[in-house]
Symmetry: C2
Subunit: 392 residues, 2 copies
């Protein structure tokens, strides 16, 4: 049978890049292409303890239906944590627990975007979010990123010249894929600019807690006195992505609409995951756990950057990183990126071609992304050596 | 700030009924309004055992990212189970694991429906599905139900006179809220009719496995030689709703599109839930567990019907049920349903007003729904007596 799909969905295809990513999960391949947390970053023993305690003492609490808003103790404790630690969330705000932060991107788009409306994105940006926006027929307008974050002139120009701009999507900390962190000054300017034009900001901060050097910079949401920022957080990088727990903090009116939509989407987030997250936050030493994760990623990032300096420079340039999971590498002028990516794969090293993150899917790119959290230290050493050889 | 929401979402509000449902969860209220499985129907001990085994032997498998399609062993075992037991799924079909069956309704609508396209629904029908359809701006056309299922003449008329009919939504077994089961003959006719007009069928079967009397009737999907039926199944009623595991079985092309959309929605379903479901299905006696659940609901349904005969008849009529979780009750001519519902609530008994399930939200109704799975036997006895007194 020939099926007729909805207009917004017809154009949505698994990309050619998906094939590379599929290949990259095969045994024997060095997985620089993934975005998985390091396995030793999971507090597996603690999660097992908590889970056992829940399921043997009061299992019905974890197994029964729950409210769409989320498990109340987790909502309260996260709202408090984000307020005290990051000044995120005020009197007029509320919190919704979601099935991973990806669901925030999906729900925010559903709640605000009519087909053809514009979403402004950093270019390049996270493919999962871009595809969520595309799945509602949004018009994506990309704005280049500079070393200290989004290009402000280009941003203002995009807002002024695009049709029905609904929100700006930004990852201010250790942006995926570029690794760039937006400066404090730029965050303030972005906020003022969006306020001036009545444009909402969707601030996605999955990596904020894994800064392993330098100083924290206040979130854009912490500057939000006008209710224009929707903050998306996630437990995927600090606890476990398989548990699928994220959250949105925004003005109550926005959270109410997101909640109505989440109810029709998946009723509520898995309760076991929510209760485990809550107990880990309140009954264990979360700060110490974060320190442990930061140590792991600091070591891996430093190893990766040292080897990049050794094997890839000066041909390949990259932004040094202070957090997150990725190195964003630039090939020398005239070298074909897809050709390089395929050669790497032939030599058992999988990197992600830069085009995967382009707002314009037909754009060319001279970049590729390396992930250092998934591969072992040994794989990082071997992989970087192989990439160096291919370059020469 | 005044937020401008998307056109499809603006009309989507928490209904007045939601307020009644909120009140109904207060302590001291007899919860005839819920749809929760009975707590003693959860295999809590077994789930605790499985969970402990997963998290102490190979925790990374449950805690890491996974594929959108679902945990492969669960997909394979469910595809096999549904094929062998119910002849659901053929050579051309595939299976997608979802975050509850609710997500199937959401994804199918997203994949097939443009704003303004028609979805034909049994009227009354499950409010969660109706709201999912509404959230994409679908035009809902209701078709009345007879004692043996949907009215075929009205269905054909609806298909012929409605604009861009994309699919028929049906719950053939123990329909929610009516409790009605569609006859074999009618299932065949519905299939042929939809085939004739090129209309897809979304067959929602959350209660199929909890038939406690009478004979199983083949699913519509088992008749599907043309790839027009999308089957939605759920673990919520047979294992645990808090785990949020459901699945869709449909033609491969459809499953591929649903998968692309699920990726932008929540990446994948919680892995712990999927692994627990798989191990329960393969390492424990699932059939014996189903027998136990059926015993519980048979007892509760029979108790509820006996008391309805005693306290509510002949003023209130209802469809006798052979499975599922609900009694659909009809008030005598001239009695105001909302008035009755509010009086019941004042007397600490919460039932759901029939209007909650109407396709036309402004329609009147002389019905109310009683759930017998959530309340204890004692609550059923007291609650039915109270409803009887209010009637008199």
């Amino acid at each position: 049978m020939n099926y007729t799909f909805a207009d917004n969905i017809r154009a949505l295809k698994p990309s050619a890049i998906r094939e590379i990513l599929k290949l990259s999960s095969q045994p024997g391949i060095i997985p620089f292409s993934a975005g998985n947390p390091a396995t030793d970053a999971f507090p597996a023993k603690e999660i097992a303890e908590i889970s056992n305690s829940i399921l043997t003492t009061n299992p019905a609490v974890a197994l029964q239906y729950s409210t769409t808003e989320g498990y109340t103790p987790l909502r309260e404790c996260m709202a408090d944590y984000m307020q005290k630690k990051y000044s995120v969330g005020g009197e007029e705000d509320d919190i919704l627990i979601t099935s991973g932060a990806q669901q925030v991107m999906n729900l925010v788009t559903k709640v605000f975007v009519n087909t053809g409306d514009t979403i402004i994105c950093e270019d390049p940006s996270f493919i999962g979010s871009l595809n969520a926006f595309r799945s509602f027929g949004a018009n994506l307008v990309g704005v280049p990123i500079e070393a200290d974050g989004i290009d402000l002139n280009a941003l203002e120009n995009a807002i002024k010249t695009s049709k029905n701009v609904r929100f700006l999507y930004t990852i201010p900390n250790f942006q995926n894929p570029s690794g760039i962190t937006m400066s404090y000054q730029k965050r303030k300017s972005v906020y003022e600019l969006c306020k001036k034009y009545g444009v909402l900001i969707l601030e996605d901060n999955p990596y904020g807690e894994i800064r392993f050097s330098g100083e924290d910079i206040p979130t854009i949401k912490s500057m939000d006195t006008d209710g224009i920022v929707i903050y998306a957080g996630s437990f995927s990088k600090v606890l476990s992505p398989g548990m699928r727990v994220g959250y949105a903090i925004a003005n109550k009116q926005i959270i109410a609409k997101l909640t109505v939509c989440k109810q029709t989407d998946d009723v509520h987030t898995t309760l076991w995951s929510q209760i485990v997250s809550h107990k880990f936050l309140t009954e264990y030493d979360f700060e110490k756990h974060l320190e442990k994760i930061r140590d792991i990623y600091r070591r891996k990032a430093n190893l990766c950057m040292k080897l990049a300096d050794e094997h890839l420079k000066p041909m390949v340039d990259y932004y040094p990183v202070e957090g997150g999971l990725f190195l964003w590498c630039k090939l020398p002028h005239g070298m074909d990126m897809m050709d390089f990516t395929m050669k790497a794969l032939e030599n058992k090293v999988a990197v992600v071609p830069g085009t995967a993150f382009s707002v314009d899917t037909s754009a060319k790119s001279d970049r590729f992304r390396i992930n250092y959290s998934t591969p072992s230290d040994e794989q990082i050493i071997n992989g970087m050596e192989i990439l160096g050889k291919i370059l020469k």
